[in-house]
Symmetry: C2
Subunit: 339 residues, 2 copies
């Protein structure tokens, strides 16, 4: 099939290409009657303006980039990214923006992708995930002047816009809840330690445990996979003063931890309480269903996308706080059974 161009529309409408452009983009410069006629003809012949031509003539690429850096196996199993993407997408497609996705292996590759996207003018802006401690992407994006919204923070985002949630508050709420249930030996299986949100959660965990006088409360680092979550749990539960409650930084590790507890003959929640960070349907599929820190991840993504579109539109980049995760108690938490 032959693709209709703006010239085809202009010819059929008996006007200039400029008039068609004005009509299509809601600009002044054509009478209302002409605009309607042009729009009708465009719809009739199925005209869609070439994104390349629009992008080239100074307008925008109408696309937003997202580089994902986790290894493929982690990407697949964690619902987080797919949920985030679906929220981002919902917001973008409502404005006819495309989402350009790229999986990268490391930070250098990601920086190269940003530079290439910028040079190619392929995207109008990017969404930055998994903010790290001393993240080199922040200064690099600032220097390029590529519009960006960091999903994370609130620190370390430089002058870039950001959307963040108060993970420290959610962590404190969780520990206090476990404390109120009677737990005095609480451990945590954390995510990748160089991610900023992991550092935030770890600091909050240490602080609240100190405040409550919980000695030996420690975070074990892990990598979000079931294998590592299981390994960390085995280590924790083999210790002489094993914890009576464990908080996991994602659902997959929590489910793996549940399996380990069961394989070691510990009852959940009797001998061990389990809390998963990030609720997902998975948490409700296991026995007992997992107490989880729930939040609306698609809404988080949509929020970030909205802000990015605003920044692309010329708005000042701001730091916006999204709703923190809240505890959803289920069957995996209870007062510790006396030993």
């Amino acid at each position: 099939m032959k693709r209709p161009t703006i010239a085809d529309v202009a010819r059929r409408a008996g006007v200039s290409k400029g008039a068609v452009s004005y009509a299509l983009n809601g600009q002044p410069g054509v009478s209302e009657a002409t605009r309607q006629r042009i729009l009708a003809i465009a719809a009739e012949i199925g005209f869609n303006p070439s994104s390349a031509a629009r992008a080239l003539s100074g307008s925008t690429a109408e696309a937003v980039g997202l580089a994902l850096r986790r290894p493929a196996r982690t990407l697949g199993i964690e619902p987080f990214f797919m949920e985030l993407i679906s929220g981002v997408e919902a917001e973008l497609s409502a404005r006819s923006y495309a989402l350009t996705l790229q999986v990268v292996s490391d930070q250098d590759a990601e920086l190269a992708v940003y530079r290439r996207w910028w040079g190619e003018r392929r995207v109008d802006g990017v969404l930055v995930c998994d903010l790290r401690v001393d993240d080199r992407r922040v200064p690099a994006l600032e220097e390029l002047g590529l519009p960006a919204v960091v999903i994370g923070g609130p620190r370390g985002t430089g002058a870039l816009a950001s959307v963040w949630v108060d993970d420290a508050a959610a962590l404190v709420e969780t520990v206090e809840y476990l404390y109120a249930l009677g737990h005095r030996r609480i451990a945590r299986v954390g995510g990748l330690p160089d991610l900023l949100h992991t550092a935030v959660r770890t600091a909050a965990f240490t602080e609240v445990c100190d405040r409550l006088g919980l000695a030996g409360a420690a975070t074990v680092s892990s990598d979000y996979t079931g294998e590592e979550g299981a390994r960390a749990t085995r280590r924790l539960l083999s210790s002489a003063s094993r914890p009576t409650a464990v908080i996991y930084d994602n659902d997959v590790m929590a489910i793996a931890g549940l399996s380990v507890a069961q394989e070691m003959g510990l009852a959940v929640p009797g001998d061990l309480s389990i809390v998963a960070w990030d609720d997902s349907p998975l948490c409700q599929l296991v026995h007992p269903p997992l107490t989880a820190l729930s939040r609306d991840i698609p809404a988080y993504g949509a929020h970030a996308a909205r802000q990015l579109l605003a920044v692309i539109g010329g708005a000042q980049g701001t730091t916006v706080q999204d709703e923190a995760a809240h505890l959803t108690p289920r069957g995996s938490t209870a007062p510790p059974r006396p030993r």
Copy 2:
């Protein structure tokens, strides 16, 4: 920062823009010495050709589109798509192709996206997932002449290129394995019935059960969610002649089914054997770990991407068969315990 253009490179190299273009694209028309000098300068000033300008001057968009039609909640929980995407991406980014993603709500929206992408020249081709019975996307894409590779088949793909796997063979292998273990009452919780691969599996299931003389072997339709998988399982297990083995069309439903069995006091695998279609780390996180039909989904996606790039490059669209899923026996299958 100012973006360098081809004119900047040409000026610094003391040649014409045409020469730079030839040098960059490996075309004849410049001496080897000049080419090397131009490439060095381009690298030095960080030049990346504008994708818009390339696309506009008759070349390609260097992008491939993928429209995902499942609802957000299903998208998030199923590892399948993220694994597929990571495989597609690996192949595309090696060739500097971008992946444009769009989540759509229904078939009409998806057709509209294809037409828009085509009209906008935003993508050079598309990957079509979740082939349906009498899929309207096939004739629509044929008519547009938009290069496409269908992930699925082998029937119903029209003249489009496709990559498919023999689900019927995998299903037969599974039923025969359960039969050999001694199972005579086998049920199946199937996926969405209007997906072609569901129809293929259902037909194969009926056929092999007939052949083996298994009366009453039936497929219950579901929608891949844990809720529906649990509901279907409850119904099956409440029947007077409850099955001793159930095959689920995805891992999430299988895990939900395992939970239901446990909640109803049935031992797995003693009272009920469970097989999950599509292996994922999830299957190994539960107790007992699930016997699953494993396949390399990233490889499947990479395969499809490679074929799409070939079709975009002008190759004839072919029907290619990928490796079928193979049974990975784990703790959830065993001979049925006599009642």
